[in-house]
Amino acid sequence: MVSLVVLLAVWQLASVAFTARYVPGPWLTFSAMWEHLSSGEIPRHFAFTMTRMLGSFAIAMAVGTVLGTLMGLYRRGEQMLDMWVMVGLTIPSLCYIIVSFMWLGLNDRGAVLAIAWTTFPSIAINIWQGVKAIDQRLIDMARVFRSSGMRRIVKVVIPQVLPYLMAAARFGLGVVWKVTVFVEVLGGSDGVGYMLNYSFQMFNMADVFAWTIFFTIIMLGIELLILKPIETRLFSWRPDIRA
């Protein structure tokens, strides 16, 4: 709370020092935000951005989980995919974006492909590590007690992979929201990124601040109100994550 007050004070001072044209103060920024909120502009563009994010996130999670599992379970899979996942991780996201747009056009399909493409390698790596870390000894224990294959997977294997899955999801979401805005700047006709770019063209710093801060607040909200509680709940048995 104190840090928030200090931040606002520093912000206001900076605004006075560098003029509102370059650093619009908190008042100016929040009134701009309020204006766009009440006009419905923020909700509308935000909905576009969210849809792209969630769609590509779902695709990236699915592809990443399948590849990561294959790599973790099979030596052949590891040999074949290891290198390519690394390559996938190395290529700049800008390249994926350009290629996707050239293939599918400057539309939502192109955007979703670009975002998912950028994101899935890091998810695959997380899942891969998780599957490799599965403790065979616990599975053997379950087998000795004649646990069925399905029960072994649900009660012994999945709980072991869950922390990695969770880490993959959080990490993936972080990548997705950055890339989504970027994609919208480059080739969107709506969405938060597009509006940021628009404000930039108008040199309207208050709007740039307003969009950025709103977006950040929402993302923090998702992190703190959804992901963190899920994690705390799932992993309350672990000694290190007592929240």
Partner: protein, 255 residues
């Protein structure tokens, strides 16, 4: 009848490094009668744990014949009889409580839910973990975790109990009290037990019969019968003499 019959059991481990294979067990034949407590004694790597893996059905690639309770342990996934297994490490599921871990085993072997509570409470009482039912494994000491594992093995009411150096990871004082606990429970339940150890004194303290294995490839070198009455006492000089005799034999008279 929960008896065990091994007929010329051999096991070869094949790997990339040794494509011709490493002979771990060489024609081991052994019969264990119902209600008997048998210790397999030998140095590390002599294949004693392999015997347990074969008996439990975890390892299904072997030569020879393995019969448990008269039925052949085959490449079929379900084991002919109900087993309890205490591993060297506790092998508890860390995300479940002590109770949850035992419930997992009870559910796996198919014990009706109505009996769980009574069984679990009874066995936790026996191993002295009455107050720790709702605690997660990481909050327990190594000895308490292993006691949970013992309670889990007995709670499923196994016909045969397999134990793979269950006390070797514990300090000697804890191990002592655990052996006494085990012997106490065994006297009441009289399960057939196959207990693997490299500790001669432990073998003498626990077993009816001690089967001494040779170093790799493992085969049966000698058998000792322990004719001491139960309950046994750590201070018993006859136990000490027996232990010296077995140790002497195992180390080839070098001590």
């Amino acid at each position: 009848m929960a008896d065990i019959a091994l007929q010329a059991l051999s096991k070869v481990y094949r790997s990339k490094v040794q494509p011709e294979g490493l002979l771990a067990l060489n024609r081991v034949s052994l019969a264990v009668a119902d209600h008997q407590f048998v210790c397999l004694l030998g140095p590390s790597g002599c294949g004693k744990s392999t015997v347990l893996n074969v008996l439990s059905g975890l390892d299904q690639e072997y030569d020879g014949e393995v019969r448990v309770a008269g039925a052949v342990v085959s490449h079929d996934s379900t084991h002919p009889i109900r087993l309890g297994y205490v591993f060297q490490e506790p092998r508890l599921l860390p995300w479940l409580t002590v109770r949850g871990n035992i419930e997992f085993a009870l559910e796996s072997v198919g014990i009706p839910k109505g009996q769980w509570r009574e069984r679990i409470n009874g066995w936790l009482d026996r191993v002295g973990l009455h107050d720790f039912a709702e605690v997660h494994p990481h909050e327990l000491s190594g000895g308490m975790q292993q006691r949970t594992s013992i309670a889990r093995a007995f709670a499923v009411d196994p016909e045969i109990l397999l134990m793979d150096e269950p006390f070797s990871g514990l300090d000697e004082l804890t191990a002592r009290s655990m052996r006494e606990l085990l012997l106490g429970i065994w006297l009441e339940t009289r399960k057939t037990v196959v207990f693997v150890t490299h500790n001669c004194f432990e073998a003498c303290f626990l077993a009816d019969r001690i089967i001494v294995f040779t170093p790799r490839p493992g085969s049966i070198k000698q058998e000792f019968t322990v004719e001491l009455d139960r309950p046994r006492n750590y201070e018993d000089p006859r136990l000490f003499d027996m232990s010296v005799k077995v140790t002497h034999f195992v180390t080839g008279g070098r001590e």
